[in-house]
């Protein structure tokens, strides 16, 4: 029986999954997610799709804010440029969807170089405001570049067909989102355990110390921006396909706040936290509504006709509660549970 979490080599420290039961449960979870689209109704499936798309975006933001400690309030700008990158290439220029996805990553990555440059001199609140300004500027640029983006009219986006496989149905599209989310999760976990990931974390923990250790702050901060924007752009493309119509109105500023809320609630700097935070934040309003509807039809009606106001209140409340009582987020709760399970009946 396993009695602790002992690491005996450097290799064990950087391994992605360190125990067979975790492999087993991860496989079971992936299989369940593969089967889910065939079992769930369209409404429930829409939540799963949104969760998977949001996981990709949250993992992208986690690289910048969670790993590197650079706060971004303008990530919706990267989401938007990613969606337009895909829509313009695929819907307007009829290029293959894979080229569209590549463009969806590269366009925001290029834009991140512009917004990332000031980050070399800015920190904290000042950087947050700079990134916020970027998201407003990018909206105006998209609206003004009508010859390319159709301006405010937006661009209709069809579900893709890749290598002869159609993702037209909701189930197939969810599978595409699932595959992207898994690939992104593996990519970010691998980044975290690599030299680059350790440099990001060193910058987050103490950038002066990191510099003394020989880490090129300029290069790594820009790399964090580019990587984060690339992944967020892919999430933007998936979101645009889900909406079937890309225009600036479909990407409100609230999405940036929602993404930060996900990281705070999940646990900053943890890929697992980003996943858990996404699940909680996306499902919270619906789960609350379902629970309250068990007690009274009036409560149910209140949640359906005032859903968005209540949703904002719930987000605020959850963030406050987590910051006050569980600053390590859901991932902290998860680690505590694991420790309790392993050490019981001992406390430590």
């Amino acid at each position: 029986m396993r009695t602790g979490d002992y690491k005996q080599s450097y290799g064990e420290l950087v391994t992605l999954i360190d125990s067979p039961p975790v492999w087993l449960w991860s496989t079971v979870l992936v299989l369940a997610l593969v089967v889910a689209p065939y079992v769930l109704n369209a409404y429930a499936l829409s939540f799963l799709t949104i969760i998977l798309i949001t996981v990709v975006g949250a993992l992208g933001l986690n690289i910048l804010t969670g790993y590197t400690g650079l706060i971004s309030l303008g990530h919706v700008g990267f989401l938007l440029t990613g969606a337009y990158g895909y829509a313009v290439l695929v819907s307007k220029y009829q290029l293959p969807p894979l080229v569209g996805f590549l463009g969806a990553g590269l366009v925001p990555a290029a834009a991140s170089l512009i917004v990332g440059a000031p980050s070399l001199r800015l920190k904290g609140l000042y950087l947050a405001i700079t990134t916020l300004a970027f998201s407003f500027i990018i909206n105006t640029v998209i609206l003004e570049m009508r010859w390319l983006t159709n301006g405010a009219r937006g661009i209709a986006v069809q579900r893709p067909e890749i290598f002869g496989v159609s993702f037209e149905s909701d189930a197939a599209f969810t599978h595409l989102c699932l595959a992207t989310a898994i690939l992104t999760l593996f990519a970010t976990l691998n980044i975290r355990r690599s030299r680059v990931g350790r440099a990001f974390v060193a910058i987050r923990d103490n950038d002066t110390a990191a510099r003394v250790m020989g880490i090129n702050l300029h290069a790594y901060k820009l790399l964090a921006f580019v990587t984060s924007a690339f992944i967020t752009g892919i999430a933007g493309a998936l979101y645009g396909i889900y909406l079937s119509f890309v225009n600036v109105e479909g990407f409100p500023f609230l999405l940036s706040i929602e993404a930060l809320a996900i990281l705070i609630v999940g646990g900053l700097g943890s890929a697992l936290g980003a996943v858990l935070g996404t699940v909680l934040i996306v499902l919270l309003p619906e789960a609350t509504r379902l629970v309250f509807s068990l007690f009274s039809a009036q409560m149910d009606a209140m949640f359906t006709t005032g859903a968005q106001e209540l949703k904002s209140m719930l987000y605020g409340l959850v963030i406050i509660l987590f910051l006050r009582f569980q600053p390590r987020g859901l991932v902290g709760v998860w680690h505590d549970l694991k420790r309790t399970w392993v050490n019981w009946p001992l406390r430590y």
Partner: protein
């Protein structure tokens, strides 16, 4: 523990309910469910809430008369907060979980366009009434019908009227930087080209802008005689108040999304005499007064205060849908309802010109009328 199990069972049942879909859901021996998704919170709630009140009035009217062939109508309303992703989820919820028989609404123009694939795939009979834009009926979709008039036609009608009334005058225009603004500008430009109008001021403002002092100063300096205010509500109020401050009063035209009576109260004397175009009757006219009389006993006091032009568009759409379902008799199906909606011919609603659709025609193409604001009575009156 048993409570937890019950909760989990209910949640699971809700999640898995898609597997047990009947062919045409939402109809029982005693009830017909009609769904709707509108912005009920946030600034666009002004139109979403008003439209939903219109649906409620038509439904209450039908229910008071015994329902549709004995079946009472139940209205299922969902808030999307004007967020497109939530509109899609809301529509999926009312179709898949609440299992409604037909849809009304739906939210704003961008939101309705985004849900078209969902509606088309579901095949559910739908009558759209809030934001009529061409992409909703071109190409025509079998199960989606649109009551109203296109923004382009509306603005062309208004500019033509003002151009004929003010020959040889100079023009000014300001529009919002979104699809609504582009539509207004396109309509305006087409008349400018056709009638060779002289445009001396043309501006664009950012959505959400509140200060129009510099824009209106530029308008004043351009000496425009006729001004097309392309704002919606708060923007038009701010523009008119600014012009009042600058002591200029060009002949002004506004578009129907901003033609709401409380706007006149906020504009004060600055709003007197402004022209508007719409396809629904003004409340100051006989038809408008009759509608308010009809509505009063059917809604709550708070809802009555929330009535505006969108209540009329919602009412008309619901009347058309209810009439189509009624013509199906006892055996109500989607196929029959869609077929009857297609056969809709000159249906009188009392709040706009008679409504018609036809084979392959999914847009009612309502007749437009020009009206003028009267600041003294805080109302819009039809222009003869």
């Amino acid at each position: 523990m048993r409570n937890h199990l019950a909760t989990v069972s209910l949640l699971t049942a809700a999640l898995l309910s898609g597997g047990a879909l009947a062919a045409d859901p939402g109809v029982t021996d005693t009830e017909i469910l009609i769904g709707d998704v509108e912005p009920l919170t946030g600034p666009p709630a002004l139109l979403g809430v008003a439209a939903s009140i219109g649906h409620k009035i038509a439904i209450a009217e039908a229910n008071n008369a015994g329902g549709i062939n004995g079946r009472k109508i139940k209205y299922v309303l969902e808030d999307d907060g004007y967020v497109t992703a939530r509109t899609i989820q809301g529509v999926k919820k009312v179709i898949e979980v609440d299992k409604v028989f037909a849809m009304l609404g739906i939210s704003g123009s961008g939101q309705s366009i985004a849900v078209m694939p969902v509606l088309e795939k579901a095949g559910i009979p739908t009558v759209i009434d809030v934001a009529p834009v061409k992409l909703l009926w071109e190409p025509a979709r079998k199960n989606v019908f649109v009551v109203g008039q296109s923004y382009e036609e509306g603005i062309i009608h208004l500019v033509n009227y003002l151009a004929d009334k003010n020959p040889g005058k100079t023009w000014g225009l300001i529009t919002q930087d979104d699809d609504y603004g582009i539509t207004v500008r396109d309509g305006f430009d087409s008349v400018v080209k056709a009638k060779k109008l002289k445009v001396v001021y043309s501006g664009t403002y950012k959505k959400g802008q509140q200060d129009f002092s510099s824009d209106m100063l530029q308008l004043k300096e351009s000496r425009a005689d006729v001004f097309l205010a392309g704002g919606i509500i708060a923007e038009n109020i701010a523009m008119m108040k600014e012009l009042e401050k600058l002591n200029v009063k060009p002949v002004t035209g506004i578009f129907w999304p901003g033609r709401i009576e409380p706007v006149l109260k906020l504009m004060g004397p600055a709003g007197d005499g402004i022209y508007a175009v719409d396809y629904v009757e003004p409340f100051a006219g006989e038809a408008g007064k009759a509608f308010l009389e009809k509505a009063k006993p059917l809604v709550t006091e708070a809802e009555f205060k929330g009535i505006n032009r969108y209540t009329m568009t919602g009412y008309a759409a619901a009347k058309v849908l209810i009439a189509a379902i009624e013509r199906c008799g006892k055996t109500v199906t989607w196929a029959c309802t869609i077929s009857e909606l297609e056969k809709t011919k000159n249906v009188e609603t009392g709040v706009m010109a008679p409504i018609s659709f036809g084979p392959g025609v999914r847009f009612s193409n309502q007749k437009l009328q020009i009206m003028q604001a009267d600041a003294a009575t805080l109302s819009f009156k039809p222009v003869k």
